[in-house]
Structures are given as structure tokens and as C-alpha cells.
Symmetry: C2
Subunit: 327 residues, 2 copies
């Protein structure tokens, strides 16, 4: 079976590819399918070198390029390619091109092969925003307050309709804020939640632009990758007609994050975090949901991280070269 | 002030144009604005001949065509152009092209002029479907079960985001099933609710494909046009950040419709309705919502029809030539 991963060169894509190569197979509907090939598609070439991995560079907003990625052997598609929240807000046209047109191109390519590929769409809790209840449940109406969230919600609706029409077997997962995100800071407005762990552990100063009491709904990359595979493994009947779901996560305050940083990096690491409120970030963060009741996902077997310490521990294990300060 | 009406040659567009010509002005934010020109855009030319009306024929899925319709004098845009439910379900690509690409083309054209035109988007209660509560409220999550509803929901989200970004001043109204729709039957799956009044009154047989106890959420064309004008008249502050709303309507069972038909057309008209269950229609109708709590719209001053008799009375007054049987 061939697997296509869009945005595959990103940190989640690379971690997913490593996991798939280790496993050598992918579980679908309780059966193990040997993996013949992984197509890693991104703007630039992916870093994973392996005989089974084809690194393809190109633009997801180009329909012909995207069509060439999907064939009748493509059993599974994981759609991670996206312009992140801050960037989609700053460059509206880029966000529409990549997040909306890109998703449409991919869904059309999947439909065109006629084999009903299983498609995982990485959505986001950014579909929620504004006047939200204290606890967001599976019944809460998505009310995105940014272009990124709107584009993700539109992608969910398209996945839903393409599935209903029998063009694909789609699943959309609303990913919590991924912490600790490895690598360089990106355009995500929530980036500080990773930055205040990652940068100090690397011996670099980090800025906390919000109040330390600020809570966020988070999950580690390792756990998110595991939930992606679980979302794909489940049979269609486990999903029913509703193909979008809020993934389990943890509520983490920035104070809790600092406590975990102290535990793994000591006072030297904590001293590298500078609290410098940024009204623009604060305004955006206030519209985000931090507490979720994810009963549906839990009943379907999705599992969150155990606690914030496990999240930092997983980061250190998965990125040993990026950590220079130890407690 | 110039007004653009897409889908203007349709029955709602034509009724709206007649109303605007009668008024000679349009109310926005409590002020009356003289109307200099009405651009009626549709696939074919609109029937209204008036020195103030420019009838333009073209495709809404063609970006250049749509761009040419909007200029800096275009103060108000009413976006009615759409492929209806049954057609969007039968021809997926056509629905996407007209309902999704068409809406995007129009919003881009409005954004390009830079004058933040006021845009009314005609959405639909078809955004609701599936496992619905007994009473749909303003808080009910849209869960469309057809491509038409998905495309309308996506349009709402785009109107919401273009408004938030300051590109347009948008308003999306979820129109009840419009009854009695004049003219020839179209591809709308809900068409029978109009057909069983319109056809018998014209002396023609009509088929009722559902159980007479079937309830629908309806509004007359006259009332819907009035609500369109009210949606445009309200200042942005009356809408707040949430630019989509469920419009008030009436719950009408097919039995009630037949009673009104008897009242205005007598037994001769009622005898022309043939009950012939159609599983395909039944299946679709079962996923629709019939009862709504439209508190928000009522508090904003939107008003439904008084009762079903008024709906039939309005149809007879507005379409005297189409009525051949009188009680």
C-alpha cells in the first residue's frame, strides 16, 4: 500500500514517516497492510532518506501537481499541508490558496482515481473561537475567529461531503495546540507555548507574550502522530456520518509549562523565559478554547498525553540534539 | 447607489427588483439611499425592463465576468445565484462551480473595489440536517447532509471571514423553504411544497411525494424579499460578529397546505393533488429541520408570514395570471 503525506516535510509529517517506517505496515480496520511506498510531498524536499520514501517538492495549490501524487495504489492520504494561523491571517490570499484550494485539489485528486482512498485531514481547535462556553464539547458550534480556522472548517465540510458522496473515506481531526513543536519558530500565533520550553532547553531566550495563568489545550507531537494513526485505523462505522472530531488533549497553563521546564532544565532554563505581554497575541489567545470535553474521541479509543511532564520528556527523547540545558 | 443582484432573473430576484423599483430607494442604517441603477445578473437575461435595470447574462463561475459587475458605486450586493439542492446533489461539479466558486468570485470582486460593499448572502436551512434536535435554535450546529447545504455553509463562513477582515459588510440569511414558488418546477428537492399549491391553482395535477403529516419550515417569496431588505437595512452593530442567522418562518404540514388550497381553490383544486410516495424524496425530507426557535432574528426585527392562508393569498395577488381555479 502506498501512503501520501502532504506537508510531509514538516515536524509532524517527518515524525509520522519515521513511525510508519519503523512499523513497516499500517493498520486499517484491524488488518495490517505492508507499506510499499511513502510519498512525502511538501514545498521543499523532506529530510527522511529511505528507499521507501519518495520526497516530492511542489505547490499544493497547483492542481496538476497534486493530481500526479495520487494513483490507484494510494490507499491512505494524510493531509497536513497548511499555512499556519498567524501566516494565514497576515496573508489572506496565501491562506486561501494553500488551505482552501490546496485541500480541494487534493480531494479532487483522490476522487479522480476512483478507489475511495482513506483520507485524514488535519484540522484544528482553531475552528472554535469567540463567545465560547467554559467547556467546548462535541456539540459546540464551530465559530472560527480567524482565516485559518475558517479555512480548516471549510476543509472539514469538504471532507464530510466527499465522504458522504463516496469519493473518499475521510476523517478530520481537530488537533490541539501541538507542544513542544521542534525546530525553528513558525508563523503560528500559539508558537510561544512551544517556544518557552524549546528555546530555554536549547540555551536560548524565549518570550512569554501572555499571562502565566493562560491555559491552552495541548498535545505532544508523539501523541498527535499516534492519534493520526488511530483515526486512520478505525473502520468507517466507528466514525458514522460525522467525520470531524475534537481530539483529546491536556489543559496546560503557562505556569505549569514553566514548572515542567524547571524540572527538566532547572533554574538556568527558567531564567531564559522573559515575560513581555503582547496585546496582539493576547487578543487572539483570548478567543481560543482551552477546556474540552472529548467524550466522543475517548469512546473511540483516542488517548491524550498523561501529563505535561510526559510532553517535555517526549520532546527531549525525540530531539536529543536540540537540548543543551539539563536540570 | 448601484445595486447588484446575482441570480436576479429568478423569482426572488425579480420580486426584489420590482420592490426596489417601486420604492426607488433602499434603506441602510436608517437612511434612505436613492437607487441609480440595478444590475440584474443571471445565466439568462432578466425579464424586468426598466431604464434603471441593466440585465446582464453570464456565468458566475467566471471570475472576469463577475469582476466586471462590481464597481465603486456598487453599494449593495444581493447574492442569490445558486444551483438548487436537487441539482447540486445530482451534479456535484456544477454545484461546486456555481455555489462555491461563484460565491468566491463575487466576494473577491467586492473586496477588489475597496469600498466595503454591503453584501447579502442567501443561505438556506439546508445547512441543518441529520440527527437534529426537535427544535433548531440559533445555537444548533449546522450539519448539512447534502452538497447544497455544505456549499451554503461554506459560503456563510466566507461571508463571515470577509466581513471580519473588513473586505465587505456581509450578512447571511438562512432562508426557509420558499412557498409558494411561482413558475415552472425546478430542481429543488423541496419543490413539492410549492407544487401542490401552484399546479392545482393553475388547473394542473400535482404530486405529493411525502406523507401529508410532513412538516416544513416555510416563508412566502414576498416575506423573504422583505426580510432581505431588512437584513440589508440593519446596521452592522445590530449583527455583531455573527453574520449568519436563521430567518423566521412558519411550520406548515402538507395537510395545512391542502386546507389552504381548499379555501382558495375549492375541491376542484384539491382533487388535482395525487399522493404518490417517493422514497428518494422522503429520505431527504426526513433529514430536514421543520421547527425553529428564531429568537435572535425576531429580536432584530425580522418578521415571518402570519399564517399559511396569507402565504397562498400573497401568491394569488402576486401571480394573478398563473391562477385559473378559484374557490
Amino acid at each position: 500500500m502506498e501512503i501520501l503525506i502532504t506537508g510531509g516535510a514538516g515536524f509532524l509529517g517527518q515524525q509520522l514517516i519515521r513511525r510508519l517506517l519503523e512499523q513497516g505496515r499500517i493498520e486499517l480496520d484491524g488488518k495490517q497492510h505492508p507499506i510499499s511506498r511513502i510519498v512525502c510531498f511538501d514545498q521543499g524536499e523532506g529530510a527522511t532518506v529511505d528507499p521507501k520514501v519518495a520526497n516530492v517538492a511542489g505547490s499544493i495549490s497547483d492542481q496538476a501537481t497534486v493530481s500526479s501524487l495520487v494513483n490507484r495504489d494510494t490507499g491512505v492520504v494524510v493531509h497536513l499541508a497548511a499555512v499556519v494561523s498567524g501566516t494565514a491571517e497576515a496573508d489572506f490570499d496565501l491562506g486561501m490558496r494553500v488551505n482552501l484550494n490546496g485541500t480541494r485539489n487534493l480531494l479532487e485528486a483522490c476522487r479522480a482515481v476512483g478507489t475511495v482512498p482513506r483520507v485524514l485531514f488535519s484540522s484544528s481547535i482553531a475552528v472554535f473561537g469567540g463567545d465560547l462556553p467554559e467547556l467546548v464539547t462535541d456539540a459546540t458550534t464551530p465559530t472560527p475567529q480567524g482565516s485559518y480556522g475558517v479555512q480548516k472548517l471549510i476543509g472539514e465540510q469538504l471532507v464530510q461531503d466527499y465522504t458522504r458522496k463516496g469519493f473518499i473515506d475521510g476523517r478530520a481531526v481537530r488537533v490541539p495546540t501541538v507542544v513542544v513543536r521542534p525546530g525553528a519558530p513558525n508563523g503560528a500565533a500559539s508558537g510561544f507555548a512551544s517556544g518557552i520550553i524549546r528555546e530555554p532547553l536549547a540555551g536560548v531566550e524565549a518570550i512569554l507574550p501572555v499571562d502565566p495563568s493562560t491555559e491552552m489545550w495541548v498535545a505532544s507531537p508523539r501523541t498527535v502522530v499516534g492519534m493520526f494513526l488511530h483515526a486512520l485505523a478505525l473502520p468507517g462505522e466507528a466514525w458514522g456520518w460525522n467525520r470531524a472530531i475534537n481530539l483529546p488533549g491536556l489543559v496546560a497553563s503557562m505556569t505549569e509549562e514553566m514548572a515542567a521546564l524547571r524540572k527538566f532544565g532547572g533554574e538556568a532554563a527558567v531564567a531564559l523565559v522573559r515575560h513581555q505581554p503582547d496585546e496582539k497575541v493576547l487578543k487572539l489567545v483570548r478567543t481560543w478554547a482551552a477546556r474540552f470535553d472529548t467524550s466522543r474521541a475517548l469512546s473511540m479509543g483516542f488517548k491524550a498525553d498523561a501529563d505535561f511532564d510526559s510532553i517535555v520528556k517526549a520532546y527531549i527523547e525525540d530531539n536529543p540534539d536540540a537540548v543543551r540545558i539539563h536540570a
